[in-house]
Amino acid sequence: MTGIEDAGPSSGARAAHDEEPPPPLPPRPSLQPTPKDRASLQSKPTTALSSMTIQTLSFPDGSRGTFSTTVDHSAADDSAPPSTEGYDVSALGFYSIGSARKQDTDESMSIMSMSPTLRPPGDLESLLVGDMAKKSPAWMLLRSQSAAIQPFEVIRSDQSSTFAGFEREFDDIPDEPDRDWNDGDRLQLWKSKLKHYMILSSAGKPIYSRHGDLGLINSSMGVVQTIISFYEGAKNPLLGFTAGDARFVIATEGPLYFVAISRLGESDSQLRAQLNALYMQILSTLTLPVLTNIFANRPSTDLRRPLQGTETLLSSLADSFTRGSPSVLLGALECLRLRKSHRHSINNAFLKARAEPLLYGLIVAGGKLVSVIRPRRHSLHPSDLQLIFNMLFESGGIKAAGGENWIPLCLPAFNNRGYLYMYVSFLDDRPDSASAMDTSDADEAVAIILISPDKESFFALQKMRDDVVTELKKKGHLDLIKGTALKGRPSVTEIAPSTHISHFLFKSRANVQFCMPSLQPTFDSVLSRRRLMSLYSHLHATMHARHSHLKVLHCVSEEATSLAWITPVFEFYCIAGPNTSRAVMTQGANKIMQWAKREEERLFIIGGGVF
């Protein structure tokens, strides 16, 4: 993290300099290569980049054919003969350059790092096509034999260094009184973290840091504040900069500065979304008027005091980003897969028991939505639910407390000006298990969440809970919910037998919900899960880059093959082993798609119970 002191200011200045005269040709396909790939490009480009290095660097990820489909199945038909046409790199060149040209300014901040792509596109194209032609025949032969290789079985060496130390990412930095550690060592440990989040007030008062106590990093915070306010003062707010292999993204929300520092290769907009979620968490604690007032009256207020006790919520939120969360990436929720009739009668039991002051009612099992009831005029915003789920399922506070909870909270997307009151009850039949509530238990925990605008309505909602539970027990739905939650997600092979796809995400855009198969066994470890999520976030960033009208994206690398497919109805991302051909890929994708269509009403809550 020396970057803050050393490289920070200079690259910041560079960024601003770049901004003044609009860059002549800013073809920064920042979202095109995988984020890690970009990292490798960043470190190498300025040192006399030869064509050969481009080739080796960008081929693994860069050789992606883009083709648009209008009909669902045409992709499969097209791709049946895996010819070079599939690797139509001129299309790639066109897309990437075209989209990059329109990148907004914050993306163009790090133009420097992408200088090699300033070469005429034709150059790159011929180079890659030639390469393909050379490799193709042998490739095809090999590929047909070795599709069984799992994603990330082969890891590029520069890739493995990106994630070096990721296993230790969530370890605590020892506190001050620990005699075995001196400040230098602790600072070293702090710098070794791949991801940092910092929140500070515009007056420079530290508010939150994911790693290290604030005493340890006070000076770094000071530097950050100085840099940010320098640009702020020049009426030219700093949005982000790159120092070494770390990307700094800065978000200013009223009196607060949010800083994300990532060496995991996430895109600026993804980091910005994460910072926004942290801001939402703060609003959820304080509400916007309170936050504004605090700083309007005393700009030098130490916000740590009003936020006391919510550090764990911020940290669990931050860690879920660092670990990689499909829910956050897609901005969607996951539901518990239930038969339509079952879901229907659960909804009805829920609606029947409704208490007068109820605004929203949710039944959640292991972080997956089972049932929602809501007033006709209001729907729940995923970002609000994300805060609730984080509070209940990621940070252990509520569940470990036992009993029922009555929690004042603001749901910023619903209304950032006032509090709602949330009744939470975990349904735990086994009284003896109270002591054994570890993380594994959280996977199947069933909770009833009842939200009301009336702070005196605890007992009304408690009665509603009792009624709902009685009704659900009577019909055996409670056991059904618990059983289903315990069983977990289905594996890919159950969904689409004999496919080579290892994992996928399917988001229903209309329902703002997603589904995915089990992460086991391939993506079981923290590290492999992070690799998977990095690949997904790269696909997602590419598909959602402004002005990139991509519908289908096929990426091939040494580590994995991936496919993204977006229509107005759904978003689909899938990953397979590195040697999987496009035809096999599309075939698998189609199978999954058919499954999702067939199971739609089981996978997703459509509408929910409305009153």
């Binding site: 009555w406 004042p408 109270a434 002591s435 702070k455 005196e456 009304a460």
Partner: protein, 235 residues
């Protein structure tokens, strides 16, 4: 259900825990209700509602416990919890003098605002961090002294707190939620201190009085007493 095992009369007592953040309110409750302890417990958000029975020779008391969050920002919600409560546990941390100051504030507020007959217990927690901790093994606690110095982390003397408690006629205990020392005793003492008469009378009319006085929306008034009445006969 309560009547099935004992023909003794049983009644509900509403109890609220108040005190500065991180003094161990939730840990006391967890020890009392589940006989369990968790190191580095995460802070309570809002309030938690738990119940536990306490068997006395002559009757059974069912505690309805409001375990409130100690953070400053939740202070304004406290009246909702102590209003109508028959007992209060005001908790401080024996190793932190400021927490006793805060406790005094809570006692004063309760005496001013809560129902007149409220039984208040002043509880100094974290006895395991002091030399008096009977089974107190003061090591390993993140907030406490580290193993190398078997010194006393106590910053609030028993005499000081005790004399204050006597002045204000509060019950007084020093406890350790970690070892369980004195925890049940606090609740038993409270159960004993609650006058028989208040058990009989407060539930019905008292509850509805308070609810109608404080409730700002009509539907609350309807739900509050009805719920209270239901609980009363269930026991």
């Amino acid at each position: 259900m309560a009547d099935s095992n004992a023909p003794k009369p049983s009644s509900s007592v509403k109890l609220v825990l108040l005190g500065e953040a991180a003094v161990g309110k939730s840990s006391l409750v967890l020890r009392f209700v589940n006989n369990d302890f968790q190191e580095n417990k995460e802070p309570t958000i809002g309030a938690a509602f738990l119940t536990q029975k306490c068997n006395l020779p002559s009757r059974t008391i069912k505690f309805e416990i409001w375990d409130t969050a100690g953070q400053e920002r939740f202070a304004s919600l406290a009246p909702m919890y102590y209003r109508n409560a028959q007992a209060a546990l005001v908790v401080y941390d024996l190793t932190k003098p400021t927490s006793l100051v805060k406790a005094r504030h809570w006692v004063a507020e309760l005496q001013r605002q809560a129902s007149p007959g409220i039984v208040i217990a002043l509880v100094g927690n974290k006895l395991d961090l002091t030399n008096d901790g009977e089974s107190g093994r003061g090591d390993g606690d993140s907030e406490g002294v580290e193993g190398e110095d078997p010194g006393d982390a106590r910053k609030v003397s028993t005499e000081e707190a005790k004399s204050y408690a006597e002045e204000e006629s509060l019950l007084f205990f020093e406890t350790s939620a970690k070892t369980g020392y004195n925890v049940t005793d606090v609740f038993t003492a409270i159960a004993n201190a609650i006058p028989e008469t208040s058990l009989k009378s407060t539930r019905g009319p008292g509850a509805s009085n308070v609810a109608s006085r404080a409730g700002d929306e009509q539907r609350v008034n309807l739900n509050g007493p009805r719920e209270a009445a239901k609980e009363g006969c269930a026991c």
